[in-house]
Symmetry: C2
Subunit: 449 residues, 2 copies
């Protein structure tokens, strides 16, 4: 009896049109990562559960854990950051520090599946290990900027904050040390729920109305990034960690200026906290404003995580692109114009006698670098063959009939317009070569521009 | 207490030098796949266990199976072929047939780990669904040929056989139908264990000495591929399936000739069986002769697999590159000459005052497409900075000291030779651009050619 073919909820098959766009995004980001001097690293999907646990907070209950055949408790990786820390702990002395790596790979979380949320999804991370220099943090922000621009986004802003300022903010406002985390969990929602609800949340946790007022007052200060930092510097006078946090952000701004990143792309924002427990310094997140789609990338500094493995902390900072979201957004933005196939030319087969000529021609086109298919069933009518190319949205078909064969020519048909021209093989190769050259220059893979 | 950082046996961390070579192999094969008109497809790592089971024979006991949080019995994919069949069964009517897909992705098997054998390893498959045409099988062989040549292999041979001939061989030799599988399991080892051991193995299974003699006689026939097929045609006269198998191989040879694949790269070999149960037609395997490293790719036709899902078979044929083995072999062939980093230039930082100039320069180099690092700690001596570049094997360092800054120039140091030249930024960009252009033209990624 046949087995019913089915797939687990929260997992997906990515058919070619989806994969073409996805490859484009991954290739673009890989190229940007390497241009910034990040190197590729890969870690196993499966690790000892004990390696992955105890780093991420209560979200860890979503980890896929099971006993393997050797009765070891193993888990599928939940993110790419904890495995990186494990690699550093094991290979610290083989690696030249500072070490810059990127990894683009799937992770698994037993989330409740919903639109845009999957149980198996890809992360796309770049991290710098072994330096406290704010050049590294600025580079992560520049990297996000370059990556998003190369993907075709032009209107976005990176919000920048520092966990040290959030600690100082609580102290400045006179909030009990034990409640500091409540302050930044609450202000993190400012943009989403508004100041009144943030105030309410703080009061619920026992923060006094005066303290809540001082928090909201400072968080809602208006001004340029430089002006905000001056205000925070005055507010945190006498708090060494807070002042250190302000200096770090000043250095980041200096570095971004030197890197010639326009300040329309970033802004200091004291309300940004980010979710992960392990951040210790600068944090940042990029919000795309046009189209309004929220956060696409984010990251921060986490100087304590490695200490969980080695007992000795080593500074780390890094950023992550939301690959699934980026792909979904580009899909929505470009819709039907996206390429439906990687194939560029389909060579038809006029008759079984002319099959060899079609195969030879296909070989020549492939040597030119053209993505070439040959129609497989020599007995089918030309109409049926062209219909295949059309359904698949292959941009060109080539016809090599008895007339063409006798004249040493081929007929090239533009499948979109239906225009046909009979050309020498050399002339046709020129057309296709121009097509091949354009392939890499489009900001998204489209059929016709 | 710190957690001991460790990794599961049979899994690996791939540090940057290993990843650079691996990316090169994957990029090369992807480009070849697309040139042959194969499109990318991706399936989840995790599937219902029932989907994957019952297709591969007793090897299936190596599958990683476990209950997920919803008490579903799930498994990590064991290969890429069974998931492909499941995709076809589910999406047959959305896909234009024939459908050509490639997938390069990890699979998991709880094998006993040993040199070159891993529990998590990558497969690299290309398959054609929905045609019985021998053009498809020939294309798979041409694909393996092109792929290996582009990876830099020049001395290899694809052995070609047909499962139909192996069935006919048993009948021709007078072997009981029930023992036919023993015949081809035995002759498959001919190259490895020699004719006397093959004979012994057949006798052990109750095949008569006469039958074993006839088997060995036909299998050891010498001659060109065409001559062998003529001999088999005579031997299998009266066996329609056997004759059909011979005709299929003749067509494959015709097609390979038309594709201008030199016959020094392939040969019919009646002893080739291949391991998987599901093959039904042509099978092939490529043996690299120089260096002597055995099989790197293989594949075949499996027209019945899809029927296990849908009840209705659909023809499928395909090939698989042994990615892990290819990478290991290239590593051995090129050894120390391989690139150790993706970075091409490291910009030093002469002093904290000159940091901004170095950052600006790095930005310009990145715009040119140069893979550029900046040294992070402005306070470190130039010697320490150059040592970092040297340990990491970054090919060039750039120095921007006060003299250079005043003159609007930069000093470029070739890290291998130690040669230094002071140039304008435009002149330097020209040198780096030439380096960037060479990047894609090397058959393996090396530091210096």
């Amino acid at each position: 009896m046949p087995i019913k073919p089915q797939i687990l909820k929260g997992t997906r098959d990515l058919l070619p049109p989806a994969m073409i766009l996805r490859h484009h995004v991954i290739d673009t980001l890989e190229a940007v990562f390497e241009r910034f001097g990040f190197e590729p690293l890969e870690t196993p999907a499966m690790e000892y559960a004990a390696t992955l646990e105890g780093k991420l907070g209560e979200e860890e209950r979503l980890m896929y854990r099971f006993l393997d055949a050797g009765e070891r408790m193993v888990a599928l990786r939940y993110d790419l950051t904890v495995p990186l820390a494990r690699v550093i702990a094991m290979h610290q002395h083989e690696l030249t520090m500072p070490f810059k790596r990127y990894q683009i790979a799937p992770v698994w979380r037993a989330e409740k599946p919903q639109k845009g949320r999957y149980r198996e999804f890809w992360q796309c991370d770049a991290d710098i290990v072994g330096t406290k220099s704010m050049v590294a943090d600025a580079e992560c922000i520049a990297l996000m900027n370059t990556g998003l621009r190369e993907l075709g986004f032009s209107s976005f802003k990176t919000l920048i904050n520092n966990r040290k300022l959030l600690v100082a903010l609580a102290e400045y406002a006179g909030v009990d040390r034990g409640l500091a985390v409540r302050v930044y969990r609450a202000v993190d929602k400012l943009e989403k729920i508004g100041p009144e609800n943030v105030r309410e949340e703080m009061l619920e946790y026992g923060i006094t109305p005066e303290a809540a007022g001082r928090v909201l007052d400072l968080v809602q200060t208006e001004g340029t990034s430089r002006e905000l930092l001056e205000r925070f510097q005055r507010a945190f006078a006498g708090q060494p960690a807070g002042l250190q946090g302000v200096r770090e952000l000043q250095e980041i701004l200096d570095n971004l200026e030197a890197m010639e990143i326009s300040d329309r792309f970033y802004a200091v924002d004291l309300s940004l906290a980010r979710g992960l427990d392990y951040y210790t310094g600068p944090v940042y997140e990029t919000i795309v404003e046009e189209p309004k789609i929220g956060s696409l990338t984010g990251g921060g500094r986490y100087d304590e995580l490695l200490g969980l493995f080695t007992g000795t902390p080593l500074p780390m900072t890094g950023t992550s692109f939301g690959l699934e979201r980026i792909v979904d957004v580009l899909q929505e933005m470009h819709g039907g114009g996206l390429a439906g196939t990687t194939s560029e030319v389909m060579v038809t087969v006029f008759s079984p006698e002319l099959l060899a000529k079609s195969l030879r021609l296909a070989g020549h086109l492939r040597l030119e670098g053209v993505h070439t298919e040959v129609y497989y069933d020599a007995g089918d009518s030309l109409g049926k063959q062209l219909k295949y190319a059309s359904r698949k949205r292959v941009p060109f078909a080539v016809i090599m009939g008895p007339d063409e064969a006798a004249a040493g020519k081929i007929t090239v048909r533009d499948m979109a317009s239906g225009d046909q021209r009979t050309l020498s093989e050399t002339e046709a190769a020129g057309i296709f070569r121009a097509w091949v050259e354009r392939r890499g220059t489009m900001s998204v893979p489209v059929v016709v521009e």
